[in-house]
Structure formats: structure tokens, C-alpha cells
Subunit: 219 residues, 2 copies
DNA sequence: ACTGGATCGATTATCGATAATTGATAACCT
DNA sequence: AGGTTATCAATTATCGATAATCGATCCAGT
């Protein structure tokens, strides 16, 4: 049959994985919900195999939990894992900073460009663009650490996906977000390692402490 | 044929995964080596499906690299990933310390027992037992952070497997290892957060800087 | 001989079907 | 009735087969 896309550029399992991430993050698939392989396969018009692979990857990044022979369930992600992820992010990004700053591998221009883009987006009130610029900023730092495993662990957190949720849930002042990044950038460019690490921690733990789930928490 | 185990207690894919981890860590499967799915399936007497799942999990923890449609390859684990893992470990364990210490959730007795076991093993010159005690010590700290995602990321590093390799490759003074842990424990028990974090970093980065591959590096 | 392209073998990605397991329900013995 | 066991439907884990794709080889035309 003439299926959905004529170009399966990526592998099916990758597409399914990304689709599931989106659906989980958006809340379409609720925490605790059981993910039945055959049903998902049907919904994507594929067989069970690529779905299983996708679920394995989701499990590896902690978005779902699989109990052998029992099934796969969406983890309680919004309430718990989301805020947890900030602590892990902070730890990894701080380590990357400790690696990159003394080594002088930080891409100053790219970081400046990210902050500028963030400022501009904040001025427009474009939440999505602020998030994109922020992710780019932090990814540049992680990359500059030149540590594949660190990079790997960071990417596994699915920062993009989580960021979009957070920004929508927290509704921070976009100008403040941009300012915080500018401050961190200053510390980085002046090679103030201690201050940069401190700011990285404070910045992220700040979000970790916020009641992301103001809407859903007290129910 | 009467196959290897009559009791497939765990799922096949899990068994295959663990087997591959062991074979990679032991060096039986060399860095850069291609892992052909059908060949592995044959060697385990299974079909391709559980092998693919196992490989996906290995990819998720960074032990192999998969390029779509190209194949799966053992990452350069000894020379690169191993030392990289110490930086990531340090970052995660420091974050766990920052969470656990102020919260007062550290299991003091268990930590003391780990250090005692380490001392005792060091006295016997039992490298394996020192490694086991060390892993237990650090896992207790990570657990005490009460952050599932952090825990998840830490476990994904396959600390056990890597530790065994490291201890054999580095051949550190076991007494020193025990002393370092004792010092860290002191800082933890006296709630000296800054010092504990510092020690955690120094301790692990120390290994990261060592030429693990004295045998193979300069080739 | 040298470059560009067609062909071939090997391997991965996916499929459809089957075996095995789980949790729930219903029948059963004391 | 109380608790235990047999049965059932749903679902996962695995299999064997097929289609799609990659990399290398071989060949023709210049």
C-alpha cells in the first residue's frame, strides 16, 4: 500500500521512537499507561519488531519501564523524572565545563550567537525559539568537553523533548532566562571556572526546585 | 540439540546482552570489531531478534556504536571510553552527594562496612574484592541521592564491568584506594559537602588521567 | 591503465506467524 | 464457604523468511 511517507529516510524504529517520545512528552500517553506493542505497531502500520526496538531505547533513556514478560509502562515522568533530569544535566554540564574551559575548546562565537538568538527570541516572546537556543548553547558546551561518553549520557536525557515541556509548564520570564545564559557565558569567556560551575548548578537546580506540575500536582 | 542452559530464567536478549558485555570487557571482542547479528545469533543458538535487542541496549550504554544499515561495532572502550567513564562517574556521584548529604540520607553504617571490607580485601591483596566493595560504596551514595534518573544514568555506565578492567589495567596500590575511600567517608560523615565533592572529583579524575593503556597506548 | 557505473554477495531491517508466559476468571475439592 | 487449581484471553518473546541496502568487485568506455 502507498504508506504514509514515501521516504523512510530514517529507520522505522527510529521514527517510532521519536514519535513515542513526542507522545509521552506531550502527555498524550499518560504516566503509568501501558504500552502494548501490537497496538503501537498497528497505529504506525508496522510490525512488532521495530516497536520493540524503540521501546528498548526508551527504556534505556528512562522514559519507560519494562518488566520482562509483563509489559512496558510510561514512567512517571512529568512529576518526577523531568525535575530529576535537571540535576543530572547540571552534573554533566558542569563536568563538561571543567573539561572544556581549561582546555580552551569552547566555541566562543557559537556560544555568543546562541545567547544573541535567545535574547532576540525572548524579545519576541517566542518560547520555542528560546528553548532551541538554550539547548544549542548547552550542547556546545557538552561537545567542547570532547568526552564521547559524557556527550552520550547527556543526549540520552532527551533534553530537547524535556525542555519544551518545561518551558511550557514553568512559564519563566524569557528575559531572565537569556540573562542567566549571558552571565554564564561571561564567566566562561573570562575563564572563571568556579563561577561557571556554580552558575551551571544554580541555573539548573533552580528549575529542579520549581513546581513544574502546578497544574497537575495537587489533584 | 540439547542447548547450553535448560533454564532460560531470564529472557534470551538479557542473557545475550550480559554475555556480550562480558566478552567486550574481557577483550574477546576487540574494539572496532564488527558484530554481525546473524553470526552472534548462531553462536547463541537463537534467532536474530533477541540479538538486535541486546545490541540496542549495548548501544544505549555506549559500549557499541550502530550506524543504521551499516552495522554495529565495538567502541574503543579500553583506550577511550573507560577513562571517559570516570569523568562521568565523578559528575554523577558528586551530584548525588550534593543531594544526599544535606538531606541526611546517606547510609552511614553501610558505607563504613564497605570501607572496612575494602580495607580487609586490600590487606589480602584481593583485587576483585576491593573493586566490589568500591562499587558498593559508590552505589550507596548514588542511591542515597534518591534520584531515579541519576541512578539510571550511573548504572548505565556499567561500573562493575569497567571497574574490573580498570583495576587490572592500572594496578593501583590497594591500600591507597582504601585510604582514599576512608577519607571521602570522613568528609561525608562530617557533612563537609565541599570537601566531599572535591574528593569525589579528584579521586575519579585521578584514574581518568592515568595511562590505563600503558601496554597499548604508545603503539 | 583510469574513472564511472552496473552487479553481486553479505548483512541489516522488517515482516508475519508461533510459542510461551502472565493475570484473571471459573470450576473444584474439602 | 475458603482456598486451590484448571482454563482462557491477552500479550510478550522468539522464530524463520523476505525485502532493502551497503560495500566491494568487475567491467566497459575513453
Amino acid at each position: 500500500m502507498t504508506e504514509t511517507q514515501p521516504l523512510p529516510r530514517l529507520t522505522l524504529s527510529r521514527q517510532i521512537r521519536d514519535g513515542l517520545v513526542r507522545r509521552i512528552v506531550s502527555g498524550e500517553l499518560e504516566p503509568g499507561e501501558r504500552l502494548v506493542e501490537t497496538r503501537i505497531a498497528e497505529s504506525y502500520g508496522t510490525s512488532q519488531a521495530p516497536v520493540r526496538e524503540a521501546l528498548r531505547e526508551l527504556e534505556a533513556i528512562g522514559m519507560v519501564e519494562t518488566r520482562p514478560r509483563r509489559g512496558t509502562f510510561v514512567r512517571h515522568f512529568i512529576q518526577q523524572t523531568l525535575r530529576e533530569s535537571y540535576v543530572v544535566r547540571a552534573a554533566l554540564e558542569e563536568a563538561a565545563t571543567r573539561l572544556a574551559l581549561p582546555a580552551g575548546t569552547l566555541p566562543a562565537d557559537a556560544l555568543r550567537a546562541d545567547v544573541a538568538a535567545m535574547r532576540e527570541a525572548a524579545g519576541r516572546g517566542d518560547v520555542g525559539a528560546v528553548g532551541t537556543a538554550s539547548v544549542s548553547f548547552h550542547r556546545h558546551i557538552v561537545d567542547a568537553g570532547h568526552n564521547e561518553l559524557l556527550k552520550h549520557a547527556w543526549e540520552a536525557l532527551q533534553i530537547e523533548a524535556r525542555t519544551s515541556v518545561t518551558l511550557l509548564a514553568v512559564e519563566p520570564d524569557l528575559g531572565d532566562v537569556a540573562d542567566e545564559h549571558a552571565e554564564l557565558l561571561d564567566a566562561l569567556l573570562s575563564s572563571d571556572l568556579a563561577k561557571a560551575c556554580q552558575l551551571t548548578r544554580d541555573h539548573q537546580w533552580h528549575y529542579a526546585d520549581l513546581p513544574h506540575d502546578a497544574h497537575g500536582r495537587a489533584r
